[in-house]
C-alpha cells in the first residue's frame, strides 16, 4: 500500500470562510492602490507610442499614437539579436540557479552536518559585496580563461546566487522533517528526498526564485557591459544604453525598446504566478 500524504497549504481563513463583502473591499483597495503603482509603467508605454516631438508634451496619452518608434527599434537596430542574447542568458542562468540554489538551500536547511552555519554564513556574506567591486577580478579571470565576449563569460557570475540560497533555505526550513524521515524509511535516496519531496513543497518559492533570477539577468547591465566586446554579443540593457549619447538620449527609442523588453517578461510572470499562488501540493510517498 502506498500511503499518500496531502499537505494543503496557503490557508487564508477568509477564503474558506468566504465573506463576499470583505473580498470586494479588498479588491477595491487593491485596485485603487494599483493605479498609482502602474502609472509610471503606463507612462513608459504611452511615451513609446509618441513622436519624438510629442514626448515632452504634458499630456499623458499620445494624440497621434504611432508605432514608428517600435518599428525603428525592431528594424533599424539589432534589437532582435539583443533580445535573443538576453533570453538565452536569462534562461540558462535561471535553470542553473533554480537547481543549485534549491539544492544548497535544502542541504543547509534540512541536513545536519558539521560546518553548516559557517557555510551558510560564507554564502550569505557574498551578497554583501557590491558588484561594482567584483567586475574587475571577474574580467581578469575571464581574460585569463578566454571567456571575454562569450555567452559563458556573460553568464558565469550569475550561475548561482546567494540570494536564491538564502530564499530557498528559508522555505526549505518549513518542509516537515517527518515527511523526509518517512521517505528515508521508504528507502528514498538523499537526492530523491530533495527532488521528490522537498522541491514540490516549496514550489511557490521556487517559482518566485525563477522569476527573480530571470529578471535579474534580463536587466543586468554592469557585468555584460564590461565583458561584451562585439555588437553581436550585446544584451538588451547594453543595447538600449546605445540610445544615450553625448548629444542626448533618444527617449522615444529608449521607451519603445524598454516596453518591448518588458512585455514578454510580464507575460511570463502572469503564466508563472499561478505556481506561486497554488500552494496546494500533493506529495506522493511510495514504499
Amino acid at each position: 500500500m502506498a500511503p499518500r500524504t496531502a499537505v494543503p497549504t496557503g490557508g487564508a481563513p477568509a477564503r474558506a470562510a468566504g465573506r463576499p463583502w470583505r473580498d470586494a473591499w479588498a479588491s477595491l483597495v487593491l485596485a485603487a492602490g494599483g493605479i498609482p503603482i502602474v502609472f509610471p509603467f503606463l507612462w513608459m508605454l504611452a511615451t513609446a507610442l509618441k513622436t519624438p516631438q510629442e514626448i515632452f508634451e504634458p499630456h499623458f496619452w499620445p494624440h497621434t499614437p504611432t508605432l514608428a518608434n517600435v518599428r525603428e527599434v525592431l528594424l533599424a537596430t539589432q534589437f532582435p539579436r539583443w533580445f535573443g542574447n538576453s533570453l538565452g542568458i536569462a534562461l540558462g542562468t535561471t535553470a542553473s540557479v533554480a537547481f543549485f540554489d534549491s539544492l544548497v538551500g535544502y542541504t543547509l536547511a534540512k541536513l545536519r552536518f558539521p560546518g553548516r552555519e559557517v557555510i551558510f554564513g560564507i554564502i550569505l556574506s557574498t551578497l554583501m559585496i557590491p558588484t561594482e567591486m567584483l567586475v574587475i577580478p571577474w574580467y581578469v579571470m575571464s581574460a585569463r580563461l578566454g571567456w571575454i565576449d562569450t555567452y559563458w563569460g556573460i553568464m558565469f557570475p550569475g550561475l548561482m546566487s546567494a540570494f536564491g540560497v538564502f530564499l530557498m533555505r528559508q522555505f526549505m526550513a518549513g518542509v516537515p522533517d517527518e515527511l523526509l524521515d518517512a521517505g528515508r524509511i521508504d528507502g528514498v535516496s538523499e537526492f530523491g528526498l530533495f527532488a521528490r519531496i522537498a522541491v514540490p513543497l516549496v514550489r511557490p518559492a521556487l517559482a518566485a526564485l525563477c522569476i527573480f533570477t530571470f529578471l535579474g539577468n534580463w536587466n543586468a547591465f554592469l557585468w555584460p557591459l564590461i565583458v561584451i566586446q562585439t555588437p553581436a554579443m550585446r544584451t538588451l540593457p547594453v543595447g538600449i544604453a546605445l540610445f544615450s549619447g553625448e548629444a542626448g538620449s533618444s527617449w522615444h527609442l529608449i521607451m519603445a525598446a524598454s516596453s518591448l523588453a518588458v512585455l514578454p517578461v510580464l507575460a511570463v510572470f502572469v503564466l508563472l504566478q499561478r505556481h506561486i499562488i497554488e500552494g496546494i501540493v500533493l506529495t506522493g510517498l511510495r514504499t
Partner: protein
C-alpha cells in the same frame, strides 16, 4: 583490506548524511569561493594599496585609504544617507508588501490582474522608470505638483531639495521593490499549512488573533528573509540613485549619495581603486554586523 562495498555500511547514518551534504555543496562552494569570495578578498587586499586602476603599480599604503575615507566628508554623508535610505525604505517595503499580499489572498476576482499590477514596477527597466519618476517629481510639469496645487498646498521641489531628494528616491525604490516583496510574502503565506488556521478557527480565534498567533510566527522565515535581504539591498543602493540624478550623481550637494555610488565614483570615474576598495570593506563590515544581529534576534525555529 575490507571490500569496497562494505565501506558505506561502516559509516554511521549521520556521517553518511553529512557526506551527502558535502557532495551537494562541493560544486556550489567551489563556485562561491572562486567567483565571489576570491574577488572579494582581492578587494580587501586592494584597500591596503594605492591603485590607480590604469596603472600597473600598486604601492602598499597600509591604512592610508581608510584614514582618507575617515577624513572625507562625502563618505560620511554617503554613509549617513545610506542608513537613512534603509531606515525609510525597509519598513515601507515590508509593511506595504505584507499588507498587499494579505489583501491579495482575500481577493477572488481579478486576482491575476491585481497581482500582475503590483508586480509591474519590478519588471520596468530602471532607466525608463527613473526618467518617468523624474517627470512625476517635476515641480513644473509633474502630476504630484498638480495634486499639491489642487489641495492648495505649496508644491515641493522634491529632487532639487536636499532635505527631500533622498526620500523622493526612496519612494521610487519602494515602488520598484513592492512587487518583489509581495511575491515573497505570497509564497510565504501559501507555504503555511491551512490546517493550522482551521484548528485555530475551531478554537475560536478571530482575524487579528489568527494573524498574530498563526500568520506572523509561521511567516517568520519569510520575514527574516525579507528584513535581512532588504537590508543588504538598501545598504547597497546604487543604480536607482545614479539614474535619478544622472547629471549630478548623488544629487544636489551629495544629498542622495550612497556608499556604493561613492565606490563607483572613486573607482570608475576617478580610478582610485584603493579608496573604492576601502569603502567597500567598511560597507561589507557594516552589512555583516547588521545582518548577524538581525539573524540572531529575528530567527525563530519553525514549530508546528
Amino acid at each position: 583490506m575490507a571490500p569496497a562495498r562494505a565501506r558505506p555500511a561502516a559509516l554511521s547514518l549521520s556521517a553518511r548524511r553529512a557526506l551527502w551534504a558535502y557532495t551537494f555543496l562541493a560544486l556550489p562552494m567551489a563556485f562561491y569561493v572562486a567567483v565571489r569570495l576570491a574577488p572579494a578578498a582581492s578587494a580587501l587586499v586592494i584597500s591596503l594599496h594605492q591603485w590607480n586602476i590604469l596603472s600597473p603599480e600598486k604601492p602598499w599604503v597600509g591604512l592610508a585609504n581608510f584614514r582618507e575615507l575617515r577624513a572625507d566628508p562625502l563618505f560620511w554623508k554617503a554613509a549617513g544617507n545610506t542608513l537613512r535610505y534603509a531606515a525609510a525604505g525597509i519598513p515601507a517595503q515590508i509593511g506595504g508588501g505584507l499588507g498587499i499580499a494579505l489583501l491579495l489572498q482575500r481577493v477572488r476576482r481579478l486576482r491575476d490582474l491585481l497581482r500582475a499590477l503590483y508586480f509591474v514596477p519590478f519588471v520596468t527597466p530602471i532607466v525608463a522608470a527613473s526618467w518617468v519618476w523624474q517627470w512625476m517629481y517635476s515641480p513644473q510639469f509633474g502630476p504630484l505638483t498638480r495634486i499639491f496645487d489642487a489641495l492648495g498646498l505649496p508644491a515641493p521641489a522634491f529632487l532639487r531639495t536636499p532635505g527631500q531628494a533622498l526620500y523622493a528616491i526612496t519612494a521610487m525604490v519602494v515602488w520598484e521593490f513592492l512587487g518583489f516583496q509581495v511575491v515573497i510574502f505570497l509564497a510565504g503565506l501559501e507555504a503555511i499549512p491551512r490546517v493550522y488556521y482551521e484548528a485555530a478557527a475551531v478554537d475560536g480565534a478571530g482575524g487579528m488573533g489568527l494573524f498574530r498567533h498563526i500568520t506572523v510566527p509561521l511567516l517568520n522565515p519569510t520575514l527574516v528573509f525579507s528584513v535581512v535581504y532588504g537590508t543588504i539591498v538598501y545598504l547597497q543602493l546604487f543604480t536607482q540613485v545614479l539614474n535619478m540624478t544622472f547629471g549630478d550623481p548623488g544629487g544636489p550637494l551629495g544629498s542622495t549619495e550612497t556608499v556604493v555610488l561613492y565606490v563607483y565614483q572613486q573607482g570608475f570615474q576617478r580610478f582610485r581603486m584603493g579608496q573604492a576598495a576601502a569603502a567597500t570593506v567598511v560597507l561589507f563590515g557594516a552589512i555583516l554586523a547588521i545582518t548577524l544581529v538581525q539573524l540572531r534576534s529575528l530567527s525563530r525555529p519553525v514549530e508546528y
